[in-house]
C-alpha cells in the first residue's frame, strides 16, 4: 500500500525537482578557457614559446563538438615545433576540463601581442555554433636582450632566499654538537683523576 502511494509521489517530486533545477540555474554550458604562453631561451639562441590552453565548462550542461582554434601565431613569425594549434573533442561535460598544448619557435625579435584562442561548441537547444574566447596573453618580448647575471648576484640571490633557513639549521646542529661532545678541559680532568 505504501509503495503504491510512495512511487508516483516520488516520481512527481523528482520531475518537479529536475524541472526547477534546469529552469532556475540556466541549462547552457559556460566555457572558460585559460591560455598561457611561456618563453624559454634555447642553447642554440632560438626562443621557444610553450603554449598551453585549458578549457573548463562551468555551466550546467554538456558542450558537444568542442573545437579549439588558435590562429594568433602567424606563420611568418613562428614555426610550429610540436603539436597542433587546433584540436577538437567530442564533448565537455559540466565541471570538466580539457587541456591542449603545443610548442612553437619564434623567428623574429620584438614585442608580440597575441590574440585569444577561439573555442566553438554546440548545444542541443540551439542551432548555431556557440563561440567562446580564451584569455588574452601578456605581450611576449621575443628574443629580448638579457643582461648577463653576475656570479656574485646569483650567490646573493641564493643566500637571500635560503640564508635564514641555513643559519637556523646550522645553529641547531652546532648546539647539538656542543652538548654531545665533552670539552677537552673536562676530558683532561677525567684522565688526571684516573691516574
Amino acid at each position: 500500500m505504501e509503495t503504491v502511494i510512495g512511487n508516483p509521489l516520488i516520481k512527481a517530486l523528482i520531475i518537479l525537482f529536475l524541472l526547477s533545477a534546469t529552469t532556475a540555474a540556466g541549462d547552457a554550458p559556460f566555457i572558460i578557457s585559460h591560455k598561457k604562453a611561456s618563453l624559454t631561451r634555447l642553447k642554440s639562441g632560438a626562443e621557444r614559446v610553450s603554449v598551453s590552453i585549458d578549457i573548463y565548462n562551468q555551466g550546467f550542461s554538456t558542450a558537444y563538438d568542442v573545437s579549439l582554434v588558435d590562429d594568433s601565431w602567424p606563420k611568418d613569425l613562428f614555426d610550429i615545433i610540436s603539436g597542433n594549434t587546433s584540436n577538437s573533442w567530442e564533448r565537455l561535460d559540466a565541471g570538466g576540463i580539457l587541456s591542449h598544448s603545443f610548442e612553437i619557435d619564434a623567428k623574429r625579435q620584438g614585442m608580440f601581442h597575441g590574440a585569444p584562442a577561439v573555442i566553438t561548441y554546440r548545444v542541443p537547444t540551439k542551432v548555431s555554433l556557440q563561440e567562446a574566447y580564451s584569455t588574452p596573453i601578456l605581450p611576449l618580448d621575443i628574443l629580448a636582450e638579457r643582461p648577463t647575471e653576475n656570479k656574485l648576484d646569483w650567490l646573493q640571490r641564493l643566500l637571500a632566499k635560503y640564508g635564514s633557513q641555513l643559519s637556523v639549521v646550522s645553529i641547531v646542529l652546532l648546539f647539538i654538537y656542543l652538548v654531545a661532545t665533552p670539552s677537552k678541559a673536562s676530558a683532561a680532568k677525567a684522565s688526571k683523576k684516573k691516574s
Binding site: Y56, Q130, E131, A132, Y133, P136, L138, L178
Partner: protein, 252 residues
C-alpha cells in the same frame, strides 16, 4: 675549543648578513604594482570608471573560476590567479574597462581589509552572443593573517558608451601562510620536540636503572654472609672462637 668555534661561527654569520641588509619597505608596494599597463596602453578615462558604482547590464552573465584551486587557497604575499568568464547575451558588443577586487572581513562585510589592484584593459571586448574569459592576477598583503576572508570581485564594462558593473565573485577565500616546510620556527620546534623526547627517555632509563639496582643489592648482601665460612678464617686460630668450636667437637 668549542667556545672558540662558537665565536667564529657567530662572527661569520654576522658578516655574511651584511650584503643582505635591506631597509624594510612599506607594504603598499604590492598595491602600487600596476599590471594593467602590461596589457596595453591605458585609457585616459579609466579613472572615471574605476571605483564608481554602476548597475549590472541585463544581458551580461559573469562567472568566476579559480583555476586548479577549487579550495580557493590564496597564499599571502604571492600571486593568485582567477579567471572571469563573461557572457554577452545581448545584441551589442561590450568593452571591458577594468576588473577590481577587495578583501573584507567575513563576519562584517563593511570592514575593508585590503583594496586589491584594479586591472585595466584597453582593447578587451566581448562580441554579442559569445563568451570570453579574462584573467585577474592579485596578491593579498604578505602580513595578512591566515584565515577565511571575503573576496568581492567586480568587473566594470561599457555597452554603447554607458558604464556598467557586475559582481563576478562575492564569497570566501582561504588565506594561508606562504612558506616552505623548513622555516625558522619549524626547525626550532622539531629540535625542541626531539630533545624533550630524548630527555624523557634518559629519565626513564635512569628510573629503570635505580629500580634494578635496588633488587640486585639485597641478594648481594645475603650472598656475602653466605659464602664466608668461619672455619676458613685463619686469623681466628688461637682465639676464643676456635677453642669453643674444638670443645664442641670433643663433646661430640
Amino acid at each position: 675549543m668549542a667556545i672558540k668555534i662558537l665565536r667564529v661561527f657567530f662572527i661569520g654569520l654576522l658578516l655574511l648578513q651584511f650584503p643582505l641588509f635591506q631597509v624594510v619597505r612599506c607594504q603598499s608596494e604590492i598595491e602600487a604594482d600596476v599590471e594593467g599597463s602590461e596589457l596595453g596602453i591605458v585609457r585616459e578615462d579609466v579613472q572615471d570608471f574605476v571605483g564608481g558604482n554602476f548597475k549590472p547590464a541585463p544581458g551580461v552573465e559573469t562567472i568566476c573560476l579559480f583555476p586548479k584551486n577549487s579550495a580557493k587557497v590564496v597564499p599571502a604575499g604571492e600571486k593568485t590567479e582567477l579567471l572571469v568568464g563573461m557572457e554577452n547575451v545581448g545584441q551589442s558588443p561590450l568593452n571591458i574597462i577594468a576588473i577590481e577586487a577587495s578583501v573584507h572581513l567575513p563576519f562584517d562585510h563593511r570592514m575593508l581589509v585590503q583594496n586589491l589592484t584594479a586591472q585595466v584593459f584597453d582593447n578587451a571586448s566581448v562580441p554579442p552572443s559569445t563568451q570570453a574569459t579574462f584573467p585577474y592576477i592579485f596578491a593579498v598583503s604578505k602580513f595578512l593573517q591566515p584565515g577565511t576572508f571575503d573576496l568581492v570581485g567586480t568587473v566594470v564594462y561599457e555597452i554603447n558608451q554607458s558604464p556598467y558593473q557586475s559582481t563576478f565573485y562575492n564569497g570566501t577565500i582561504e588565506v594561508v601562510e606562504a612558506g616552505g616546510f623548513v622555516s625558522v620556527e619549524s626547525v626550532f620546534l622539531v629540535t625542541l620536540g626531539i630533545s624533550l623526547v630524548v630527555l624523557l627517555g634518559l629519565w626513564i632509563h635512569g628510573q629503570f636503572k635505580r629500580i634494578s639496582q635496588k633488587t640486585k643489592a639485597a641478594p648481594k648482601v645475603e650472598v656475602g654472609t653466605g659464602t664466608t665460612d668461619a672455619s676458613m678464617d685463619e686469623w681466628l686460630q688461637g682465639t676464643a672462637y676456635n677453642q669453643s668450636s674444638s670443645k664442641s667437637k670433643k663433646k661430640k
